[in-house]
């Protein structure tokens, strides 16, 4: 479970996040929807502890990310916006590097990598160097790298960016599989259809504030709009551009 409690963050005169509170539950996919520059990345970065909030608190499975960073991160897998690989290392070495930094033993690493390789369909290129990997292959390795320590919570920052249709479809299946395993999945996106198709809950962010936090159906019912798209637009207000 991931909890954001009144998170606030300023960069100079820009208020990137203001009193952001929401909960992403286990066994659910939570979508963080907002336009570019709405403050999604800032929120996620505070959740995985690379940004210090000016106010508020973030907890992973009830552990304060600022107070016990390492312990909290052990429960958390992160796929940042930029999820580059080491091109001179093989897919396996990329995954092992992160796993060993998580303190995993060689034996555990081997069995976990085998599991992930099978689950994500990486057998064909697991021993190949990452140089020359397709976007789809890269995202698989990056996801495996984020999941190597078997975390109960997964945060993904715009994971579909730059992926082709096939890769997006694959990713969607992977996220649903994570949900079925009972994990808490939190991902950000500016693509409405993607969020609608995948998420149990949607948190809509605009100008650093939470504008809505509900299930897809609730949002539609509350706004009284006929289609999902209209419902979203109503929540966002006409100033926020969402594609």
């Amino acid at each position: 479970m991931i909890e954001a409690m009144a998170l606030s963050k300023r960069f100079g005169s820009i208020e990137a996040a203001k009193d952001v509170s929401f909960v992403a539950r286990d066994g659910e996919i939570t979508g963080l929807l907002g336009a570019n520059g709405a403050g999604k990345s800032t929120c996620l970065r505070m959740l995985y502890g690379v940004l210090t909030p000016d106010g508020g608190k973030a907890c992973i499975d009830g552990i304060d990310i600022r107070g016990e960073t390492s312990k909290a991160r052990a429960h958390l897998g992160v796929l940042p916006h930029a999820a580059g690989l080491y091109n001179n290392l093989t897919a396996r070495e990329n995954i092992h590097y992160f796993g060993s930094l998580h303190g995993m033993t060689a034996q555990r690493l081997r069995s976990r990598t085998a599991e992930l390789s099978l689950a994500l369909g990486m057998e064909a290129f697991i021993e190949r160097r990452a140089k020359g990997f397709s976007q789809g292959q890269r995202i698989k390795v990056a996801l495996a790298r984020a999941l190597v320590h078997d975390p109960g919570n997964v945060v993904l920052d715009e994971p579909t960016n730059g992926l082709d249709v096939m890769a997006i479809r694959n990713l969607r299946e992977m996220l649903l599989a994570l949900k079925d395993q009972g994990r808490c999945v939190l991902f950000s996106s500016h693509v409405m259809q993607e969020v609608a198709a995948l998420c149990d809950r949607v948190v809509i962010i605009g100008r650093g504030r939470v504008l809505a936090d509900a299930t897809v159906r609730e949002i539609r019912e509350r706004s009284g709009a006929a289609t999902l798209e209209e419902a979203f637009l109503q929540v966002l207000g006409d100033t926020e551009g969402v594609s």
């Binding site: 970065r45 995985y48 502890g49 690379v50 940004l51 210090t52 960073t69 390492s70 312990k71 909290a72 991160r73 052990a74 958390l76 992160v78 796929l79 940042p80 916006h81 930029a82 999820a83 580059g84 690989l85 080491y86 091109n87 001179n88 290392l89 070495e93 590097y97 992160f98 060993s100 930094l101 998580h102 303190g103 160097r129 990056a142 790298r145 984020a146």
Partner: protein, 392 residues
């Protein structure tokens, strides 16, 4: 500790597979210096040997006006080319490169010479050309010797002791040891050693910081449950390892090159054997962590590979400053200078080259000072890595 080792092992392996790192760390850096140096020294030696062995060649015009001088020059082994040139023709001949140095004896020479008046000779040479300048110097020396011989003869004929014209007899005593003289030539070597040392870690320092950011793997790395100090420490350690390899290769190359450079032919001996190489390695070793942390710190502030490259090229020049300073003020090894990294290494290595004894205390102070600066830089680097701005 575990994190440190994991990061070290990964960076070491990853860069071992990177052609750019390998080329600069293991080929360009260590070999560039010794090879250039060997060629430079060989050429310098060849030239100086050539000068004393090869007879002086001069073009002389109007030799019939000065038969005595012509005779004297021939007797001194000067190869004379006789010709008839006007002043302008002589100038043109030197400028055009036809003859390097032209002696022109004017008609007035014989009359003034006979009257014991200063007799004019024109010496045409291009002082901007270092080759010609040397020939002109030699010609000037022989003409001077001829002049004083004639002066002494004249005094003797008038019943005056020629010794009267020599009020002071200067005897130069050159105390430079053969190795000491070689150091003038070898002065640059220490810079090449320090250059190779830095070059070895340059690309790794860039790749593990700016490279990590550019390829987008930094944020994932920073969100792992590990101490940032250990993370950057492991990177610096890997950089150090490459620098040590580069330093070792560079010294080995120097030892090999000096096997082939005929220093003894001009009465010099270079004190560069395996033993010296080992001492050099020990002297330079404390400079390795300093260079590695400095390069990592600078590269940590940059966003792209290219930007890091630009800044780090200036870092490569940092060790030259004290060395340049040392040669301008001809500094000698002094305990008080051992606190200045790179200068202390330069001075100690120069002392070893000169076969001078070096104090263990000086070596230790030099090492402690370098390691102290390295530690300070490491603290700054680790602090920078803990900042949010590290995300870029």
């Amino acid at each position: 500790m575990r994190t440190l080792f994991i990061v070290f092992a990964k960076e070491f392996l990853e860069n071992l597979r990177d052609r750019r790192t390998l080329l600069s760390a293991l080929l360009f850096g260590p070999l560039f210096g010794p090879i250039l140096f060997g060629l430079m020294v060989s050429r310098m030696l060849e030239q100086s040997v050539v000068e004393s062995d090869v007879p002086l060649r001069l073009t002389i015009s109007g030799s019939q006006h000065a038969p005595g001088l012509t005779q004297y020059l021939k007797a001194r082994g000067v190869k004379l080319t006789l010709s008839e040139l006007s002043e302008n023709e002589a100038r043109a001949a030197v400028r055009g490169g036809g003859s390097q140095v032209v002696l022109l004896v004017p008609e007035a020479y014989s009359r003034l010479f006979a009257a014991a008046q200063p007799a004019p000779i024109l010496l045409f040479a291009d002082s901007a050309d270092s080759q010609t300048r040397k020939i002109a110097d030699r010609a000037r020396g022989i003409l001077g010797a001829y002049g004083s011989t004639i002066a002494q003869l004249r005094l003797q004929m008038r019943g005056v002791s020629p010794l009267l014209s020599l009020p002071v007899a200067v005897n130069e005593v050159d105390v430079a040891t053969p190795t000491g003289r070689a150091v003038v030539v070898l002065g640059f070597m220490t810079y090449f050693v320090l250059f190779a040392l830095l070059m070895g870690g340059l690309y790794l320092a860039i790749d593990s910081t700016a490279g990590e950011r550019e390829r987008g793997s930094l944020e994932a790395l920073l969100s792992l449950p590990v101490a940032r100090a250990a993370l950057v420490g492991g990177k610096i350690l890997a950089t150090c390892a490459y620098m040590c390899i580069s330093l070792g290769l560079s010294l080995t190359a120097f030892v090999c090159v000096f096997r082939f450079v005929p220093l003894e032919r001009i009465g010099m001996s270079a004190n560069i054997g395996l033993h010296t190489a080992l001492i050099f390695f020990a002297i330079c070793l404390p400079f390795v962590p300093l260079g590695a942390t400095l390069m990592t710190l600078v590269a940590s502030f940059t966003r792209t590979y290219r930007e890091a490259q630009t800044y780090l090229t200036s870092v490569l020049l940092v060790p030259t400053l004290p060395i340049a300073f040392a040669s301008i003020y001809s500094l000698k090894t002094k305990s008080s200078l051992m606190f200045i990294p790179s200068l202390s290494q330069h001075l100690l290595m120069t002392s070893v080259l000169k076969d001078e004894p070096i104090l263990l205390r000086d070596v230790l102070v030099s090492a402690a000072a370098s390691l102290g600066v390295a530690l300070l830089l490491f603290v700054l680097t680790a602090r920078h890595w803990r900042r949010e701005t590290m995300l870029g």
